[in-house]
Amino acid sequence: MTTANTKPHINKTHLHFLLKQMVRIRRFEEKCAELYMQEKIRGFLHLYIGEEAVAVGVMKVLQDEDAVVATYREHGHALAKGLSMNAVMAEMFGKMTGSSRGRGGSMHIFDASKRFYGGNAIVAGALPMAVGLALADKMQNRNRVTVCFFGEGAAAEGEFHESLNLAKLWSLPVLFVCENNMYAMGTALSISESEQHIFKKAQGYGLAAVEVDGMNVVDVEAAAQKCCSAIRQGEGPHLIECHTYRFRGHSMFDTQLYRSPDEVSSWQQKGPIVQLKQWLEQNGKLDQTEWQQIEKEVQQEIEEAVTFAEQSELEPNSALCRDVYQESA
Amino acid sequence: MKTITMPSFGADMEQGKLTEWNVKPGDTVHKGEIIATIETMKGLIDMEVFDDGVIEQLLIEPGSEVPVGEPIATLRRLGDVAVEAPPVKAPLVEKSATPLQTDQAAHISSPPPETTATIASQPDLALSANQGHQTSPLISPAARYQAELQGINWGALPAGSGPNGAIVLADLERYIQADQQQLNVTTPTAAPRSIEQDVNTLKMRQAIAAVVSQSKREIPHYYLSHDISLTHALQWLKKYNEDRQPESRILINALIYCAIAKALQKFPAFNGFYQNNQFQPAEQVHLGNAINLRQGGLMVAAIHNAEALSPVSMMDKLKDQVIRAREGHLKMSEMQDATITISNLGDRGSDSILGVIFPPQVALLGIGRVREVAWVEGQHIKPVTIVSISLAADHRVTDGHDGARLLNKINKLLQKPEQLV
């Protein structure tokens, strides 16, 4: 492992980028919640609010050709991987201009050109797929990383264990990122796992695995940098367990009986955006004008995305059965 | 606007197949004009229009088989205001219909594909075809489809060889074959008959069977017969025909028909319809002429207002009708509204005929063979040409006494042929 790539280069521009990415995701999802109430967005809507540091931190160290496999709480990952906000918003609206042509909705955002492989809504179901993507890279001698995000709930599924085993067995270039937000829907980790440290389970399969503060984007980025670097060196799969917290319910229809408001507010106080913003302000690296500029730019991007989604066309019913199989010539 | 519907050519007709339109939308038509040809159980019948006007729309396509009463065209009568046309009924061919295999289509009488599709896509239509039968036999869809296609009244078929007596294709084929063999025995013909001919014959036999069965079931018949000397009539005829070309000659039948029509005018109780337990006499005499078709079966075509016809016009009518009947080109009005039927075995049949009344009519007159008999007149026996005219009548309406008077009247009229002119 070379030391040159293990630490992120922390400077003002870099940190402003991370901050803005997190603000983009936060404001985008706040808008989504509003649009959901207005019935513009339907189906399940799982918000990432509170967990932005994980996606933003990890994605900062990826290259374009690296693949991302995510869950149904993937708006943040999609935006951070470089999908346009227009395409993601239009997908929420079910429009033809959406990233999945409107066929997927909130839970199934795909962009093959960005190597963003969903948007997968079966818990742990995408882990074997990530293993396969990495297997293909290895078989074709391509030096790429496949990053697989999943929640701590996935660790209870067999596919988690099968995938970690296969990845290590075949020494595949996969970075598993566990977003441990403590609740699988409403089931706390403490009442579902005998071993509650996910990274230790990975270690049991021989993976190099660490845990980090998932509310601290710089820590996440640093861990991801270290792991990806090792993976690119041919050291096989790694796992990062990010301790994080979602500020909102599991989906829009969640009364949150399983946790206390105090717990939520205590986590909110150390939220990823507020944490980074305070640090930047305290260290004289962010003034009011700069902050307002970030907010303004993000607001503009969101407004454009909503307008784009609103104005986009719905797929005609006649095209219902397209893309079930490859269209024959 | 008037809707033209699939006409009923008889009480036993439930559906008809449009084989040809003679008009197209926009054509001006006049009352009595033939606008279409309809195929029925009894054969092809020309359909006339009853109003002057302009054809607005044709609602069904040739080859379509639809129930009686179903709209098939619209007519803008003179004086009607043109209205915006309602959406044309989609072509009756549906994509989902599965066409029959060609090898299968080949051994039936090459139905137009529209027919196939129509029946296949309109199960209700096919169902309606046999609604009249309270205890329909079981029949497989394929056999039923073939039966409908060939116009066979499967409701009247005997039980088949399928489970619970269901009629299956094999039964249908056997039935058609048997019928064909029977026809071949009774009518020696040179050319092999086409299946189509057999089917038409079959259809006709079924129609006849249905009518005569109903008649014998419902009508209490009584029968009378009267030998009538034709001496005077033939003398008159001989004289009339003597100098005339064959095309202007009159046959004895024309005189007899005239006599009958005129007699019926005096005895209206034999001329009309018995319906809803009530007899309704007809104002005019529409003589139903039972025409023997050479290929088998018979058709009844009406001679309208026969009481007003002279022997010459009667002869013209008879000739025209026989020719058209044998070519399958009778008009529907001729088929529908006879008020009484004459069954004429012709000059080559049996001595007399005791017929079966054609409901809802109440009488049928049978004309036997014109023949020579030893005839007693006063104290003498002499050879005389006679005809036996018999009456089958509905006892619910008339009694034997009335019948005898009717026959007597016919006799009297034939003794003074010059008065028939």
């Binding site: 997968n120 179901g125 297997l135 078989m139 | 869809p141 060889s161």
Partner: protein, 330 residues
């Protein structure tokens, strides 16, 4: 000797040849599954391939059906052409999530962006006294799912050449090999003996009744057809070959000709593919039917171990003959 005896090939050898050919033809093709390598394959299909192609392309997997089927899906997305062998259809249920929730959905769910050109092979069916967890015919479950294709080669020629078609297909293809077919022998086939993947084939022509079958039941249907011929019933036998999409054109043409249908399917009767075929025929051929469509399916019981009960539970020639005669009202 070569002049007098035509060279024979078993179904197993044909399938192995097909895999070999695919591997030689395309470096992106690889085979993975339980015991495909060192053991030589549970049904010895892949015997010798490890020695020929090495561990990098003949991959023994742990007993992780969901894991390695999912890995195959991912590899297909990543540009490979994986052949994934699942030991039997019963085990494939452990990978049902990957097959149904991922392979079948990804193209549509991504708006057409993702292709999953994977071939998943597995043994199916009863007849080897393997009892209730190794003998079932669940092809129909997969044939129910849009997004995947399901094929069931029943002849040596199809075993030899359908795999290449499946690999060439841009969509996921499930390939079912009936266990009773592996030792079936036939003269070495030509590619011309194997028509397009989704095409049903009339294996025997006849005007009286249509016997529809596939996979392991085909030979029984053919045998029954020969027995029927001795009783002057000339049956037509259709080999579906592809269970999804179904070649309804061939099916309907035959039924419209014979007016009678008997489907032979080793799946259980309730909710079976046979039921689907009967429904299709009822919908599309109603007016040409001369008898109710019938099915000979497996009895509604987990396949039992004893030979006589296993036979009683699954379609047999005699039963096909009897049912066909009933349909003929004979």
């Amino acid at each position: 000797m070569h002049n007098t005896v035509q060279e024979q090939l078993t179904y197993r050898e044909a399938m192995r040849e097909a895999i070999r050919e695919a591997m030689l033809h395309d470096a992106n093709v690889f085979l993975m599954g339980e015991d495909v390598g060192h053991y030589g394959g549970c049904y010895a299909v892949s015997k010798g391939l490890l020695q020929e192609f090495g561990e990098s392309r003949i991959i023994d997997t742990p007993l992780s059906e969901s894991g390695f089927v999912g890995a195959g899906i991912g590899a297909a997305m990543g540009g490979m052409r994986p052949i994934v062998e699942v030991m039997t259809v019963n085990f494939s249920l452990l990978a049902l999530d990957q097959i149904v929730n991922n392979a079948a959905t990804l193209r549509h769910m991504s708006g057409g962006q993702i292709s999953v050109p994977i071939v998943i092979r597995m043994a199916t069916g009863a007849g080897k006294q393997l009892a209730a967890q190794h003998s079932h015919s669940l092809e129909n479950w997969y044939a129910h799912v849009p997004g995947i294709k399901v094929i069931a080669p029943a002849t040596v020629a199809d075993a030899r050449y359908m795999l290449a078609m499946a690999l060439a297909d841009p969509d996921p293809v499930m390939l079912f090999e009936h266990v009773m077919l592996y030792n079936h022998k036939a003269p070495v086939p030509n590619p011309t003996d194997c028509p397009a993947m989704a095409q049903a084939v009339v294996r025997k022509q006849g005007p009286d009744i249509t016997l529809v079958s596939y996979g392991g039941s085909l030979l029984k249907a053919l045998e029954a057809a020969h027995a029927l011929a001795e009783q002057q019933i000339n049956a037509e036998v259709i080999d579906l070959r592809c269970l999804r999409p179904l070649d309804t054109e061939t099916l309907f043409a035959s039924v419209n000709k014979t007016h009678r249908l008997l489907v032979v399917d080793e799946g259980w009767r309730t909710g079976s593919l046979a039921g689907e075929i009967c429904a299709l025929v009822a919908e599309h051929c109603f007016w040409t039917l001369d008898a109710p469509p019938q099915r000979v399916c497996s009895q509604e019981v987990p396949i039992p171990y004893p030979k006589h009960l296993e036979e009683a539970a699954t379609p047999q020639v005699e039963q096909i003959v009897t049912t066909a005669k009933q349909i003929m009202y004979r």
